[in-house]
């Protein structure tokens, strides 16, 4: 089975071919090693980095941007977003501060992506 995909690891967007031969998966057309990882993962269990905003307790900003530290399974995205929209972040907070640890046992954290002074 061969599937044509476009790698989304970076803006180059390599057109790759992912072939599954029983237990062996080969990726062709990728310009870097991330393309190989992407192709294999996309075939077996697609993952995405999620970026969103949480309500912020600050007079400077109504929302504070956050992201997952690594891609998480697509099936978890909706419940993660729901949880994030309910999580209030208190200022002051530093860019990189963890607001959610090991989400749903995935080993992926959610961090703040902007520093906010009090």
């Amino acid at each position: 089975m061969t599937k044509e995909m476009i790698c989304i690891s970076c803006p180059i967007g390599c057109h790759i071919e992912v072939t599954r031969n029983q237990d062996e998966i080969t990726v062709r057309g990728n310009k870097c090693s991330r393309g190989e990882i992407y192709g294999k993962e996309e075939l077996l269990s697609p993952k995405r980095v999620v970026t969103a905003t949480c309500p912020a307790d600050s007079i400077l900003m109504a929302r504070i941007p956050v992201k997952t530290t690594r891609p998480i399974g697509k099936e978890l995205i909706n419940s993660l977003l729901e949880d994030l929209y309910k999580t209030r972040v208190q200022a002051p907070v530093q860019c990189g501060a963890v607001i959610m640890e090991n989400y749903a046992g995935t080993g992926v954290d959610v961090v703040v992506t902007k520093s906010l002074s009090s």
Binding site: I8, P11, G13, T53, A62, P65, T113
Partner: protein, 419 residues
Amino acid sequence: MKEITKDVVVIGGGSAGMAAAGEVVGKGHSVVLLEREEILGGILNQCIHNGFGLHRFKEELTGPEYAERYARIIEESQVEYYTGTTVSEIDSREDGKTVFAFSSEHGMLRINCRAVVLAMGCRERNRGNIGTPGTRPAGVYTAGLAQRLVNMEGLMPGSKCVIVGSGDIGLIMARRMSWAGAEVKGVVEIQPYPAGLTRNIVQCLNDFDIPLHLSHVVSKIYGKDRVEGVDITPLKNGMEVTEETFHVECDTLLLSVGLVPENEIARNTGIKINPETNGPLVDSNLMTSVEGIFACGNVLHVHDLVDYVSEESQRCGEFVSTYLKAGDREQQYSMVSGSNLKYVIPNRFSSGRDNHFYMRSLIVRNHAELVFSLDGNEVKRKKIRHIQPSEMISFTLKKEELADFNLDEQSRLEVSLIG
């Protein structure tokens, strides 16, 4: 009124302005940076998605993270920066320049300097620019405005939307609106190919099963007080096939129909504008037609990656420093874009050093070649695996590659794409 005297004024505290100011101050010159918003970072602050910094920092950052890295450099440097400050005018004289600006904190600011860097970025084209027929209800937003509302103000522009234009901001907003609970009914693109990066088609549309209507236009907007729906019509050979028009119910229309360099100040200063980019014409040092005024970032031409903006602006900072130090200017020659290219930046080149060019293709091709020729003689040829108008081409022509050629005042370097 506050009066300041510095070597350089940088107008705009986004990615371009911060990179240029950081470079100039690092070379030992005094710099003032002026930013209209209350915080540094410009448009990056509302671009909360990831994908920034892969070239510049070798890691994938979100917009605010990318901005914060540069803002920290500026805050810790000798750059004197003013936020909440809007520039109204540049007075350019032979013996120097004066930049007029105002802010609620200082009132009028009058800054005397030797060089100015324009780094004001770009603005969005809107409904008036594309002339969509129909009523004029609430609910028609530019995609960037909607992005600001959702990501910074925490406001939802609507619940059922159609997006016009497949530029990156439109695609990113399709995903953002979906993740924020809205239904995105489709993206309508007038061209037969998408205007945004391919990765964004995959992760922002395909992931959500949002249809992309290529070679289609929104032919009518319905609704009295609020948008109630739109008509979408396919195009064949540039003509609307009206009998195949279909209707989509929606309460919001987001327009992602291109960006235009923000050049009111440049025009008023008498700077010549390049009709292909709508930004200033610049020489090989990114200096505009007015001596001592430089331009970089999206005010010069619209970039698709912020990494390129930073790179170009840092280079601009170096050129500004060289300009301030050296009395006489190096010899420059004409640089033009040939077949299949919309434009090349800069519009002049120098022979004694490497020249870096940014180009935008007019065609979509796999396996094309970029060809540089000087007065009809081929200088350099490079294979490119894939080109499309939405993906800027960046290329450095090395000093050695021009070494064997004789140059005179009439010399003209032409770059073309062969598909």
